[in-house]
């Protein structure tokens, strides 16, 4: 990428600044979806299933509709059939017959919406819900995946209990039935995952041979938790129609990408939908492109001829707000004497929930192959359907589970082999352009763009004073025990091929129209620092237009999976280069000479041999309008997305319009990494523990915005620690009813859970496969911190104490006093 280096001089990039959205957040002026109001607005409430699996056998709405103030009731049979969708490359993606819909007459989990009421206020809507005359036929249900795999176990859906891979490439995966034998369950015993038939598998190298040659073979089973996303802003959307077009103010991680998602669910033309999502109160993957529930107020608004607001209650959110799926993992891992992972046989059973197949199980295999670089590896998995809330990707989906499953295995191997756990992490860490499973059809492996994990471990160990802590006398104070842990995490951290769009106005300002969502990561603004740098524009002369597709936004990536800073900094650079080329061409047309005679800087384009001869950006913008064509947006490059083309057409004539698609090359898959170090203090009398020290060291390329970067490292580390410490699903398994329905029953860590000492660092080596050198950072801290705390607990209390996360006080006490306490048995996440 050396050819681009001269084009990009970071002045703003890499420095702290005040983002343009913050002031409104602090003054109450920021409008989240539920803050919108409209004349004559109705409110919407949901009737949800009381049963985990049922069929509605009787439904009479007359009494509900007769209540004064009730304006409309929406049922499942009024939903449009979901449309096929088309990928960026033009490939048609068929609508799945098994996909979740907004409402259903066959609820597949307790809390699934059956119908929705629009009324003049919440009390009236609730009264209507109570007046609905409804009856159900209870159907078989299953809460835990292993129960469904047992001989004679219930199926979560009438069509089957597992997801099976598509029969042919390009076809949809299928739901089918898979049962394991009693002998397979018996052979495994109580606390070890049976090794029955997998639904899918891949491998490379000679796994069994590697295991047979290993100095140490561990056979470990561990259960990661189901964790609800629990965004503080519940699912909210205000819908209204004007001239046949839908306007939807909705909490969504993404802006431009939410339009086709809504269009698909409503079977509408994208040109008839405007999405407004200026601020979003947390997503963590659960609001990638809003959610299917957003179409409920849209359809009710059409039916009632009035704007309709949906604001889910906290209990609603727990039902429909998505959750990370639990993985039950069994890892047979063979190590050499020096701690090198020679062979790994990994089997995961995923608690998929009832709907679309989640990628966590497969991704856990991919991330494991990259993060620990086993010389030979087999991955097997099965996604089991359960009658529990719909799952969705949550920060580092599959990546967190990979770290939680494998991190403690490496630490245990180190103890067994008499090695430093840091050394075992280091010797297995990816470096250079490391290989990534699964193998391609020709048997070879993909490669990551880069990895500097060893450097991250070294820097992190120094800051954390790992060796000092490790070599000090074990501090024992009364009932308090200490432990330290180190672990790594990684995740996908970038995509390519999206658009940028901005206007240099006749006032000489830069107005950037971005379709990036604003969910608090600040990528929507941070990525634009690159544009300002490339054009040598002061930040004060830049304005960002975001959060409303009616304001003509560029096609941007989904704001999820920490891909944005990578994808959209590339798009910003591409667009800036388009602007520079146009500025030079305009100068040459106006002042003579060729474009090559001119340079851009100081908000001017001027002759390189005579600085006096040039145009200000304001003059160049005015000239662009006079020239028209490509210069002011009356012509648009065909390679940009249709959404961007429409935005350019709307902005044409307003100034110098710069628009481009990112076509910079990239060789390899883009990942970011974090090395986390943790110390815990455990009170063995009470079972309570706290993380006293945490250090997170990133390998995520260059840092574009340090404060936002640090916020991601700290916040996402805590999200991972919540999986270890506080968040748990409890179930009434006899009736299939979740008991964790609110914050106090499954509480995310509070401010008092935050470590007393938190430090962070970044290796800061630019990614060689992207011109800016930046990669995403939101995902990998989650798994790294989660695993580091698990390792620290094992260090404090000994190996083989915990079968599952979270490790709460009862589990600690049961580990310490197994003879006096009843330990939870079985391989269920929903204890």
């Amino acid at each position: 990428m050396a050819e681009n280096d001269a084009l990009f001089t970071p002045k703003l990039t890499g420095r702290d600044y005040v983002t343009p959205d913050l002031r409104a957040k602090l003054t109450g002026k920021a409008r989240f979806a539920a803050d919108f109001r409209a004349e004559g607005m109705l409110v919407c409430k949901l009737l949800k299933s009381p049963l985990p699996h049922a069929r509605v056998t009787h439904l009479d709405l007359r009494a509900a509709l007769a209540i004064p103030g009730v304006r409309a009731i929406l049922t499942a049979d009024e939903l449009p059939p979901p449309a096929d969708s088309v990928s960026d490359s033009g490939a048609v993606i068929k609508a799945s017959p098994w996909a979740e819909r907004a409402l259903t007459m066959e609820p597949l989990y307790q809390g699934e919406p059956i119908l929705a009421v629009a009324a003049i206020d919440e009390a009236t809507a609730n009264a209507a819900i109570e007046a609905v005359d409804i009856a159900y036929e209870a159907l078989p249900f299953v809460i835990d995946p292993l129960d469904s795999l047992r001989p004679g176990g219930a199926n979560a859906r009438t069509e089957g209990n597992v997801w099976l891979p598509s029969a042919k490439p390009g076809e949809l995966p299928q739901i089918g039935e898979l049962k394991w034998t009693a002998a397979e369950f018996g052979a495994a015993g109580q606390n070890r995952l049976p090794l029955g038939k997998a639904a899918d598998q891949w491998s490379y190298g000679e796994v069994e041979a590697s295991l047979s040659q290993a100095a140490l073979v561990l056979d470990e089973t561990f259960v990661t938790p189901n964790v609800s996303h629990q965004a503080l802003e519940t699912r909210s959307a205000l819908a209204w129609w004007e001239n046949g077009k839908l306007h939807l103010a909705v909490g969504s991680q993404s802006t431009s990408q939410t339009v086709p998602a809504i269009a698909k669910w409503l079977n509408m033309d994208v040109n008839d939908i405007t999405v407004i999502s200026e601020y979003t109160g947390g997503g963590f993957g659960g609001k990638g492109t809003a959610s299917v529930a957003a179409i409920i107020p849209a359809l009710l608004a059409k039916k009632a001829h009035a704007p309709v607001m949906l604001r889910a209650s906290r209990e609603d959110e727990q039902s429909i707000g998505r959750a990370r799926p639990s993985l039950i993992g069994r890892m047979r891992a063979g190590f050499a004497k020096d701690g090198r992972l020679l062979g790994l046989d990994m089997f995961v059973v995923m608690d998929n929930g009832p709907y679309e197949e989640q990628n966590d199980a497969r991704t856990s295999g991919r991330i494991t192959s990259l993060l620990y670089q086993p010389q030979a590896m087999r991955w097997r998995g099965v996604a089991v359907l359960t009658n529990t809330p719909t799952r969705g990707p949550q920060t580092a989906p599959g990546g967190l589970q990979a770290s939680a499953l494998l991190g403690p295995v490496l630490a245990k191997a180190a103890r067994r082999l008499g090695l430093d756990p840091l050394a075992v992490c280091r010797i297995n860490a990816p470096e250079g352009r490391p290989p990534v499973g699964p193998p391609k059809p020709d048997g070879s492996l993909n490669a990551a763009t880069s990895a500097f994990v060893k450097q991250a471990l070294d820097r992190g160990a120094a800051t954390f004073r790992w060796q000092t802590r490790r070599s000090r006398p074990v501090p024992v104070r009364g009932s308090v025990r200490h432990g330290i842990g180190v672990a790594t995490g990684c995740y996908v951290a970038g995509t390519v091929g999206f658009d940028g769009l901005f206007v240099i106005t006749p006032q000489g300002r830069l107005r950037i129209h971005t379709g990036i969502g604003n969910l608090g990561t600040e990528s929507f603004s941070d990525a634009q620092r690159v544009a300002a740098d490339t054009l040598d524009m002061p930040w004060e002369a830049c304005e960002i237009v975001w959060g409303n597709t009616g304001r003509h936004l560029a096609w941007s990536c989904v704001s999820g999976g920490s891909q944005t800073i990578h994808a959209m900094s590339r798009a910003a650079l591409a667009t800036s280069l388009d602007a520079r080329a146009k500025l030079k061409e305009i100068a040459a047309k106006t002042l003579g000479g060729t474009p090559e005679d001119y340079v851009v800087g100081g908000q001017r384009v001027f002759r390189r041999d005579s600085g006096d001869q040039g145009l200000s950006f304001a003059d160049a913008a005015q000239r662009a309008i006079e020239l028209g064509g490509i210069y002011d947006g009356h012509q648009c490059p065909a390679e940009v997305n249709k959404a961007t083309q429409a935005a350019v057409a709307a902005l044409a004539g307003q100034g110098l319009v710069a628009v481009a698609r990112d076509t910079f090359p990239r060789d390899g898959q883009t990942y970011s990494y974090v090395a986390a170090f943790a110390e815990v203090e455990v009170d063995i009398e009470t079972g309570k523990y706290r993380v006293t020290d945490l250090h997170a060291e990133a390998d995520a390329g260059i840092v574009v915005h340090p404060r936002a970067f640090a916020g991601q490292l700290a916040g996402r580390s805590m999200l991972g620690i919540g999986h270890v410490a506080t968040q748990k699903w409890f179930y009434d398994k006899e009736h299939g009813i979740p008991m964790s329905r609110r914050f106090y029953q499954s509480r995310p860590p509070s401010i008092l859970c935050f470590p007393e000492q938190f430090t962070w660092g970044s290796v800061g080596i630019p990614d060689p496969q992207t011109p800016i050198g930046a990669r995403g950072i939101g995902e990998p801290p989650t798994g790294a911190a989660c695993a580091a705390v698990l390792c620290a607990l094992n260090d404090a209390l000994g190996d083989d104490k915990f079968l599952r996360a979270p490790v709460m006080a009862d589990a600690v006490l049961a580990a310490i006093e197994p003879e006096s306490r009843q330990t939870a048995v079985g391989l269920s996440a929903n204890v």
């Binding site: 005040v18 539920a34 009381p50 916040g715």
Partner: protein
């Protein structure tokens, strides 16, 4: 809360005791709904005969006349009737603190406070912090300068909780401030930056 206010039975209305009982009853329906055929999670029902009363509230230094139902929470009144949407409703049950406002300088969860109970008290919401000319409150300025918060949904609640705490302890340690705002939840979990920002805001306040 003042017992004299909340225990007063209003015509067609309900007492605080009745309000709490109704909330508990809703919870009971929710948790036992699976045993029966019928809707669960219906939420509070309309109380036949309840009527709005026109009352006067002191909000952000202004007298505001507003029609209020007996069972109406302060969060509902502020957000739905007075247009003050700065406070957020994250849980509606006193678990997250997003709706925190100051009532006579004391932080309160507006989702768990009956509007009728705060007549005659000074209510301060996040909209009342900045000056009319747009100059930010020193606490807000400190948070702005440190880029505190991520999604910002919890920010108004944290700001109001901090103000209330600083009224009792203007010069707290970081740990003391953490305890002071521990009734507020940030799901982005950005607690390190939040504390740094709030400490800077507290410092600003001491300088003014």
């Amino acid at each position: 809360m003042h017992a004299s206010l909340i225990d007063t039975i209003r015509p067609g209305g309900m007492t605080r005791r009745q309000f709490i009982k109704s909330v508990i009853a809703v919870g009971a329906v929710s948790s036992s709904g699976f045993l029966f055929s019928g809707p669960a999670d219906a939420g509070p029902s309309t109380s036949p005969g309840t009527v709005e009363r026109l009352i006067t509230l002191n909000v952000n230094g202004q007298r505001r006349r507003v029609d209020v139902l007996p069972q109406e929470t302060l969060a509902q009144t502020l957000r739905n009737k007075l247009g003050l949407t700065g406070l957020k409703v994250g849980c509606d049950r006193g678990e997250c603190g997003s709706c925190t406002v100051l009532v006579d300088t004391v932080p309160q969860y507006a989702c768990s406070l009956l509007t009728h109970s705060v007549r005659g008290k000074a209510i301060l919401t996040v909209e009342g912090l900045a000056r009319a000319d747009g100059k930010l409150h020193p606490l807000q300025q400190g948070v702005l300068d440190e880029q505190g918060f991520q999604c910002g949904y919890c920010a108004p609640g944290f700001l109001m909780a901090t103000l209330g705490f600083l009224a009792t302890n203007p010069n707290p340690t970081r740990q003391e401030l953490a305890h002071g705002v521990s009734g507020n939840l940030c799901r982005c979990q950005d607690y390190d930056k939040i504390l740094t920002a709030l400490m800077r805001g507290a410092e600003n306040m001491r300088k003014e």
